[in-house]
Symmetry: C2
Amino acid sequence: MISKKMNKLVENSSIIRAMFEEGKRLSYIYGEENVFDFSLGNPNVQPPENIKKTIIDILSEESPNLVHGYMNNSGYEDVRNNIAKYINKNNELKLTANNIIMTCGAAGGLNIILKSLLNPDDEVITFAPFFGEYANYVDNFYGKLVIVKSQAETFQPDIQALEEGINEKTKAIIINSPNNPTGVVYSEKSIKDIAKVLEKKEREYGTSIFLISDEPYREIVYDDIEVPFILKMYKNSFIGYSYSKSLSLPGERIGYIAVNSEMDNFEDIIASLNVANRILGFVNAPSLFQRVVGRTLGEEVDVNIYKKNRDLLYNHLINLGFQCIKPEGAFYLFPKTLIEDDKKFAQIAKKYNILLVPGTAFGWPGYCRIAYCIGYDKIEKSLEAFTKLAEECRSI
Amino acid sequence: MISKKMNKLVENSSIIRAMFEEGKRLSYIYGEENVFDFSLGNPNVQPPENIKKTIIDILSEESPNLVHGYMNNSGYEDVRNNIAKYINKNNELKLTANNIIMTCGAAGGLNIILKSLLNPDDEVITFAPFFGEYANYVDNFYGKLVIVKSQAETFQPDIQALEEGINEKTKAIIINSPNNPTGVVYSEKSIKDIAKVLEKKEREYGTSIFLISDEPYREIVYDDIEVPFILKMYKNSFIGYSYSKSLSLPGERIGYIAVNSEMDNFEDIIASLNVANRILGFVNAPSLFQRVVGRTLGEEVDVNIYKKNRDLLYNHLINLGFQCIKPEGAFYLFPKTLIEDDKKFAQIAKKYNILLVPGTAFGWPGYCRIAYCIGYDKIEKSLEAFTKLAEECRSI
């Protein structure tokens, strides 16, 4: 009855739902405080204090028909202008409102980019481990997601694998840094190497190959790490940004796309993003929150809360003998599972009331994702459960 | 460079943009107060006073991680429950939260319904004159929009045309009442006749044919007109609702889908809508405004403002000899143009600083759409311009 594409997805979603229901079942039996749900990337840190005040200021100072009304499908010009200036200040660029399209989060942004670029059977490359939604976003427009591997020791992109993955049908590459699920930040060298390969292949095939950088975690970084800014490093580049994590507003669906001024066919691409925003049904990014982010540029959640969580859990896992890269950003750990079968590992973890996601879901079996965007006290309490989990795994 | 589908749309959008720029040019030359822009369906009536208060209440009373956080892709359960109860009270139904999916306006709702239903080359029928976006929404999923005519005298659906338009590939019918562009409200008889034909054709072909009712104007009705409630009249029916017009919040992208409990494969359809909301990039309807509409059910803008506009302009046009159905809802007049060529008529209107949309844009040449959701004083001032327009047309 439902479409063939959706039929498969609904089957998968019922598995995820079953996991979610299992969490609720455990909470019901053992009490919510004794269940350690590391399965969801739902930020627990509060939005900055100023968000509430800014909303109230806007409602008092601006006309309701402006604040809640239609505007250009790309978003309010003054907001886009503010964002462009903010980016310029931090990156020595010369963007204007014309480079910015306000979107319903990064998910909305990625979809309108792909709608604008893809003809059926066009290929889009991403590096595993990867955020599983990319497969669905590409499939929405009848494209094909091609998955190439990262370097196993560092989770930096494997440049040779990228080069081998590109052919004349390759329309775009999606990268995600800071990365979900690994927490790794792509180095400047990695981005430059990607750019070099793409430029070479563009010349070889006489095509344009677009680099799409999905950056909802840009601000969630630790220890003074710098996230390289791709608009300075590759001509045909887009940034898909979201305020979901930097302002802890994931439900509000607010973000933007920044488009490189030097991009091939810049004017057509901008016009297409505009129309795609409209016809996919977004119409425009939610209006009040466009105005909110336009007034709160540079504000951020307290990243130290996540850092404390990371350090506590990371150190404990290392002491238990887990192999894990120390994440420089996002709020995920991606350790090797103590037994080879990651799905079985997740099953065993459940016995200790620990919920986590097998690496298989990210195209990288033998690992698991632990989302540490939960309360510090919860993590403290979970350490013993992880110890027991490690003991059981060692005894298998 | 951009995809083939988008290439065509970008060409069209540049024509619309040219019209928009023309309006700005006229405003620049003659002063904004002397340009009569009837081209956009952008509500000018203020949101109810209580919206602002409700937002502030929510920010004070509820936790920010709840108000701005992720929830189920279908939306907050308490909000969906409130909406279901509100619908039940007015329509003697037994909906629950399970029947309601919160969406990014009606545009988002229609897209996730079509994503859930359509395989490539499936057909969707609508009645001309029709909201042009339906063609794009259906095309997003490689479906084919089949346009059948309305009854020319009443703009009620032409049931025979519908019956002739249905074949074994027909997956859905989209109706829109109160209608954009005609302002007509479909009668109970019309809906019952549609239902009868669909039931007959379902039996004939052994298929399910879904009725999708796009209802952003449900509350914008005059003279105690009742808009029939399709969930009571046809089993395989969806309502796509939006608060854009009833609360004058079009920029906030907030609405819902109501799904008939008796629908074939109800559980799969609901699961699919849920997943489609996620993978098309909406993820969920904007969270704060979900909570706002959940607290303000039954609130409405002052429809009398639109009614006064309608009466003033309608009476004047009739006096000038225009043929026009008196609209019972929405905020559009759809008169026959005084010369046959509606595009030329719109060109001539521009000489008198009147901006309106040729009926051709709605698949109904020889007519034009006049959006009267602008200030009453602006309409008063425009009457003389309409008189001069009529004089020039009569002299051709």
